[in-house]
Assembly symmetry: C2
């Protein structure tokens, strides 16, 4: 077999394996949207089966052989798409072949049940009910890290699943100066000479009107509703099921505009990345998939924050919002509204946190999951530890565990090592957006007239079309000419809050 | 390996294969309910992949070996559950191993496209557009019949897929006297001294109220909404996805009460059968699955007709309906309403046909599909032949092909040999119901007070729990002490219409 033939065979295999994997995406979407309650146990069996089959096929010696036949040939010299596909498949293959199929299936089976238990525990704010599941999940996660192998600590093996190539030391190197600068900024905000009135966005916002407005905004961003849909779930998410089918979800709070609105923009931002990937030619291959969760999150956060919380966005959309939410917004002007959606204050819930405090929520989780994984903290003590650290980070007491450790779906779903990618997303997002603004000096003007196609095209061109061809840090370097730094994010936050808070 | 070990291994294999197959049920449900339009092409690839994998696994020599190791051992003597499982798996295995995987995948590919073409052709009432697809489907269906083998004519190979063991000659033996008696009954109804007013159920029935009433009725029947759900689709169906997850769909006509109401009762009847199967112990095995489509349909038709179109049912439910549909039913009494839901008249659309004419629709299709399969009729001439026979059966002219040959999804979906099971369902249903009434003399009284648990328990006990342990005719013999006959259905219809029409 020539290298080209072996590569073509590899592509065919990966397409079929990914097609199989894509059925799990629909099973998981359905589980969270429309599945009847009593179907949970059977669904966990379906998901475990598909995960096991996917694992078995992807780790078969045939894939290894095909990779070997292509590696070190001219086909994968330089930074061609083929080279990137082979490089990333090899990386994934070497990790996955170390995982026993039984462990893969067990993780899916347990986490599917754990997620249902978590939902109930969260609804009842009953951590004791969830603690045994947390312990099981961390046991299995630890086993998987041990099987895959790592340098330093087990966390590195897991982090790499979401952010290929990233290490705990990289995260710490960027979290440390970021924490320092954020704490300093939050101190200035606390003593600011003026404050916005967040009450404006905490009036009556009827759910059906929020849906109308949210869908209009998503449509304006470029989200195509004939290739996707918006549903309601406890924990909002975006899932790319396949070509022509990228779905988002949200949750509505009738007393608060922010949650669903910025949630929809966030998930639609993820969806635009999925929709912009080259699924036609590269489906099933790294070049047709997201390069990392940090980059994925940079897309969602950019639309949610750099766009959705910008003054220019509201120049265009506030008049529309006033026509839809006639009662709630009758007396509200642009500056007041802009201030209200940028109000900074310590709060319990990560996904509803402002841009100033958000990353502290991540740092807390990063610390806790490392401690749990390294067995420095027992699962049963995790809620207490959360409360303790939360108090020290935010200066307020957690009132109940559903506002504390039970708020996130991640750990119940087996997603350990995932949280840091949210902060990486914020950092990438600020760095990319600064470059986009430099490249398109009239971007603010475009937003003011409701035109977001300039930004979307820039993202398609610079980020989406490449998929996983470049790893996250290489992509940032390529697009912005700089390595990843906390400075663009701090510059952006200092400028915005400087204006709003007069600091 | 001992026979018991081989049997256990077979059970394990079948559970896994069926779990894989169950993912296709969800993919298909989603395709018809919530899938975004642009996802259709990708979905057809997912479905073809699962169908191919299912076929490959089920027809692997390993399954054949395991069956051989169990057959003719003491384990499968007599009429034990094990014996039934091995008997039916062998039957299915011998048929499926004769089908080349390429043909299985080709059928899925072509029918997925044909169904989309049919939808458009039906919307435009354009038979010429659909004719080439009809020809392709019948070509492939004929190939599959030839591959599987048959006695007599190819139709037997297909019929057996839906009604194991049934033959064309059995169908004809029962259709002939049934046709004669029905034509005689319809003649008497045509000249009846009094007629009900069907206008009562053709008033304004707001969709949201129909939903409330329909769900209340399904709940009263015993349909468990925590183990299922009701959604809207163009073509209503019931799908058993797995243990704890059996979903139904309907479509609402705001100008007619019957369609959604009896449609919901019909699909909920199917669902009660699925929910009553022993999926806990027999999942993936014949004893945990429906024994035939005729028996499946007997459950849906019994709830729709023997229950839903009975006077006793409306003694309880008309007062509820009057409280929900305040305007439409204000002036309606029990006799008038009972008459209206039992109005008999020739009509174009099978799924909306009354109990008196329904089976003639089936006989027409049975004749046509045999002629198409035996090449006595060319696909391009099928619409004309339909019109001709329809005129002779019903005495009215088909006004357009969307009210004629284009009305049903079945042939485009590759379902040839399926239609007769609808009439078998009506026959089984009447025969079972007569026995249930004989076993429970106060059944009518139970219905009058809204209690349907007696009937459901009788069905669970006599039919549901056995799954495919007994073939349809054996089950009928076992439950009713009689072979299947057209007489119970005719007795039931003669009594009902005798009262309503005064004949």
């Amino acid at each position: 077999m020539s290298p080209q033939q072996a590569y073509n065979e590899l592509v065919g295999q990966m397409k079929e394996i990914s097609l199989l994997g894509s059925t799990a995406s629909l099973l998981a979407w359905d589980q969270r949207t429309y599945m009847p309650r009593q179907g949970a146990e059977f669904r966990s069996q379906q998901l475990a089966l598909i995960a096991g089959m996917y694992h078995e096929r992807f780790t078969s010696p045939k894939i290894g052989d095909l990779l070997s036949q292509v590696e070190s040939t001219d086909l994968v010299k330089g930074d061609s798409v083929e080279a990137a596909n082979v490089r990333e498949l090899r990386h994934k293959y070497n990790k996955e072949t170390k995982l026993p199929k039984e462990l893969v299936e067990e993780i899916v089976r347990v986490t599917t049940l754990a997620e249902t238990e978590w939902e109930t525990a969260r609804a009842r704010s009953d951590f004791a009910m969830f603690a045994p599941w947390l312990e099981k999940v961390y046991d299995l996660t630890r086993q998987s890290a041990e099987a895959m192998g790592y340098e330093g600590e087990p966390y590195n093996a897991l982090l790499d699943n979401y952010e290929p190539g990233a290490k705990v030391s990289d995260i710490e190197a960027i979290f440390t100066p970021l924490r320092k600068d954020l704490v300093e900024l939050l101190g200035r905000i606390k003593n600011a000479p003026r404050r916005p009135d967040p009450g404006i966005v905490e009036r009556n916002y009827p759910v059906e009107l929020q849906k109308i407005f949210g869908e209009a905004v998503a449509g304006a961003m470029g989200y195509d509703f004939s290739a996707g849909r918006l549903d309601i779930t406890t924990h909002p998410f975006c899932t790319g099921i396949g070509n022509g089918d990228t779905r988002i979800t949200t949750r509505y709070n009738p007393k608060r505009l922010n949650d669903a609105l910025f949630g929809i923009m966030h998930e639609a931002g993820h969806a635009l990345y999925e929709m912009g990937l080259d699924k036609k030619n590269q489906f099933g291959l790294p070049a047709g998939d997201a390069t990392s969760l940090g980059i994925h999150e940079s897309q969602s956060r950019m639309w949610e924050n750099q766009v959705g919380r910008s003054k220019a966005f509201w120049v265009y959309f506030l008049p529309q919002a006033k026509r839809i939410f006639r009662d709630a917004l009758a007396d509200v002007n642009l500056d007041a509204f802009y201030g209200a959606v940028n109000d900074v204050r310590p709060s319990y819930i990560r996904v509803e946190a402002d841009e100033g405090t958000y990353n502290l929520h991540i740092m807390l989780r990063f610390e806790l999951e490392r401690a749990l994984l390294n067995k420095e903290l027992a699962a049963k003590d995790a809620a207490g530890e959360w409360r303790k650290r939360f108090k020290s980070y935010f200066g307020i007491e957690v009132d109940k565990d559903s506002n504390g450790i039970l708020q996130d779906v991640h750990w119940s779903a087996g997603l350990v090592g995932y949280f840091p990618t949210y902060t990486l997303g914020n950092l990438f997002s600020a760095q990319f957006f600064a470059k986009a603004k430099a490249d398109m000096p009239d971007l603010t003007k475009q937003f003011e007239r409701g035109d977001f196609s300039g930004l979307l095209n820039w993202l398609r061109q610079n980020i989406h079309q490449h998929g996983g061809r470049y790893r996250a840090n290489d992509l940032a370097q390529r697009v912005t000419g700089q390595t990843l730094s906390h400075k663009p994010l701090m510059d952006y936050l200092n400028a915005k809050y400087g204006e709003i808070y007069g600091i």
